[in-house]
């Protein structure tokens, strides 16, 4: 029952992002595709894991 509104909520955010990326140049609002590609590259290179680990460690210990 809550799955549809959740999907709709995420889809609406993506649509707004897409519209903004069309309306503005990529240096201001990059489109979802290049952003997802860059994110995938960061993850594939392993760079993202180290930085995420460091941030999560700090957040986790600070939060406790």
């Amino acid at each position: 029952m809550t799955t549809f509104p959740r999907i709709l909520s995420i889809a609406s955010l993506l649509i707004i992002w897409l519209i903004l990326s069309v309306a503005f140049p990529p240096s201001i609002v990059p489109g979802p595709v290049p952003v997802f590609k860059a994110m995938a590259q960061n993850v594939a290179s392993g760079k993202a894991f180290y930085d995420l680990y460091k941030t999560l460690l700090r957040v986790g210990l600070g939060w406790c």
């Binding site: 029952m1 240096s27 993202a48 930085d51 941030t55 939060w63």
Partner: protein, 188 residues
């Protein structure tokens, strides 16, 4: 969380404690997070310890206030009823006080995590050579909006994962006894 829950509990249970700690919490709430981060980095150096202390001190006032409000809102008539039924002290805490405090604890856990993320990014942006905040600063320096968005999105996905894989199941398990508000049944 530990500092916030302790402070909030002391403030909620003791009038003198509340008067004493009130100004501490007010100072914690008033000092901007960026000032907090700068002070910790200058005092403790550009290391993880400074980041952890900055995060902990920035998050504790919000947790304290939430716990304090929870303690103030405890239904004392239920506690009296428990005493009238000769419930033990631990049973009163476990079965009457804790369930009433639980929503406040869960809310403060989530709120504190949100604050922690924000402070951590700020600290990493100012004085760290690793972490998501550092990466955001690095790519900002190169004016690569795509990478700034990519790191923000990654950050967001981790937050979603924590929310849906850790917080929601814990909340569901701990509050399974609640039937929910009838008017809001449609939302579940």
């Amino acid at each position: 969380m530990v500092l916030g829950v302790t402070t909030g509990t002391i403030m909620g249970l003791s009038r003198k404690g509340a008067v004493f700690l009130d100004s501490w919490v007010l100072v914690g709430l008033t000092v901007p997070a960026i000032v907090n981060s700068i002070i910790c980095l200058l005092w403790l150096g550009l290391n993880d310890r400074a980041a952890i202390v900055a995060i902990g001190t920035a998050a504790f006032p919000a947790v304290s206030i939430s716990i304090l409000q929870g303690i103030k809102g405890i239904d004392t008539q239920l506690v009296s009823m428990g005493q009238a039924f000769h419930l033990s002290r631990s049973a009163i805490i476990r079965k009457i006080i804790f369930p009433q405090l639980l929503p406040h604890i869960l809310a403060s856990m989530r709120y504190a995590l949100g604050i922690c993320w924000k402070i951590c990014t700020t600290v990493e942006l100012i004085g760290m050579s690793s972490g998501v905040g550092y990466q955001l600063n690095y790519w900002f320096g190169l004016f690569s909006m795509t990478q700034v968005f990519a790191w923000t999105l990654l950050f967001l996905l981790v937050m979603f994962a924590i929310e849906y894989l850790i917080f929601k199941p814990i909340e569901k398990r701990l509050t399974r006894w609640r039937t929910g508000v009838p008017a809001l049944q449609w939302a579940q």
